[in-house]
């Protein structure tokens, strides 16, 4: 059973066992517009919570994607190099960015679940 969480920076984190898959939310991709490039970290890199994990570039902006949790990068979505538009088409599926092996599983506790994120979006709208 996987756990899905959200951050205020519009990232989603799906936890399966010890591995967290990270991407940007549908709201984030709508705000960015057409994604044209994604810069991914090297596999094996250790990141602290709040570190830059990736960079996403759209036709109108370039934004950093921060690691919401600490851990080691175990996989990156190589498919985005040639097809960055997957981030727009399927942000919470094929458009994932990185997989991080969590240093601390309880790190997700402070993040929002789906209902809280929806409420957060409505509040900030």
């Amino acid at each position: 059973m996987s756990t899905l969480r959200y951050t205020k920076d519009h990232e989603w984190i799906r936890l399966d066992g010890e591995t967290a898959t990270i991407g940007i939310t549908n709201y984030a991709q709508e705000q960015l517009g057409d994604v044209v490039f994604v810069e991914l970290p090297e596999v094996g890199k250790e990141v602290a919570a709040g570190d830059e994990a990736a960079v996403v570039e759209s036709v109108k902006a370039a934004s950093e994607v921060y690691a919401p949790v600490a851990g080691e990068v175990v996989e990156v979505n190589e498919a985005l190099t040639d097809a960055p538009d997957k981030v727009n088409e399927d942000p919470q599926g094929d458009g994932w960015f990185v997989k991080i092996k969590l240093a601390d599983k309880t790190a997700l506790d402070g993040l929002m679940d789906e209902d809280a994120y929806k409420a957060f979006l409505e509040e900030s709208a």
Partner: protein, 451 residues
Amino acid sequence: MRYLPLTEADRKAMLKRIGAKDIDALFVDVPPEARLDSSDRPVDLPRRRSELEVERTLTRMAGRNVSAGAVPFFVGAGAYKHHVPATVDHLIQRSEFLTAYTPYQPEVSQGTLQYLFEFQTQVALLTGMEVANASMYDGSTGCGEAVLMAERVTKRRKAVLSGGLHPQYRAVVENLSHFGGSTVHALPPAINGEEDIVSAIDSETACVVVQTPNVYGSLTDLEPIARAAHENGALLIAVVTEVVSLGAVRSPGEMGADIVVAEGQSLGVGLSFGGPYVGLFATREKFLRQMPGRLAGETVDGEGKRGYVLTLSTREQHIRRERATSNICTNSGLCCLAFTIHLSLLGEKGFRDLARLNHHNACLLADRLSGVKGVEVLTPAFFNEFTIRTPKPGAEVVEALAEKGILGGVPVSRLEPTADAFGDLIVVASTEVNTDEDRDAYQTALKEVLA
């Protein structure tokens, strides 16, 4: 438009916000001996004079200069005197073109973007690279930016500079790297030792910077250096200060360079007392996103017609802020236009002929000078510039030649004041502007000076 100057209250509020006591506190980094203080060291200038008087005085002062066009001229070392056709100046001054910068609403200026696109194409072809930007301020700042770019690409923080890199380029690299917190390892000056750099490459090296022809005129095959750099995961940055050489030698791209920076002044841009010039910057497509500078791209509009845009702007400062690939948010617009027009007028054949003529003239000059007793030509393989050793200090020889109305080159002691062993060397350049009479005059004057 009204001009609203700051009030005293505005100033105070700003100073308070940044925590500065007074305006003077903003200048504490300037050494006291360099400061002009109105109380004890007033600026010593004559009283006001009329426009007519000022013009006369300045003309008289300018008359004391020996200008490049007035005498036999053999000075190079990074800036070259070439013949610029009158057409170039006429065309760049057309009002449709005449601007120093890339425009702020660029797509309105399709003509500007089109020539930038042509310029980039020319630079890519000349350097043998896949992509080129819309130009940097000059060759030296382009070189500094190339080192920063290589460090972003390789995620390493050390640059190794060859001993033949122009000392002023080295200074720019050291300055930029110092404030970026990375290491620069500059090899000692060497007339013909570009390949020495191979043994200085290690697993920490982000890039090696090699100039060909180097500041002493030597041409180098970059291939073995490129191979050694790539085996260690480092990039090769090739520097060219005389772009005309690319009409005669293999391009740095063909020899394996990853980034090529060049000074484009030789084409279209005069000596102009050292600037403004135009920096050429080209690289491989795979490094495109780490490239600094503006980039014009060709596209189609909603009706399928060809049009030009500024593209990949997310690398740039106005979007990426402090994470941008560079703080350059413009290009050397007018100079790069002059470059493009001059190169277009020459065409490929004309450019190659020009290069051949430059080399030919330099060979003739080398023969003449080596015929003077005590003078030795030290550069084994050169394009249009070489280094000579004279029996007297180079600076004295150049000064004595100037008094005889010959601008005979750059004494190496001016470029490398601390390299004592180089005190008797002079870097001598010869382009298409030199005639047999010029060479005669140089040879005769040199004989007299050394007699």
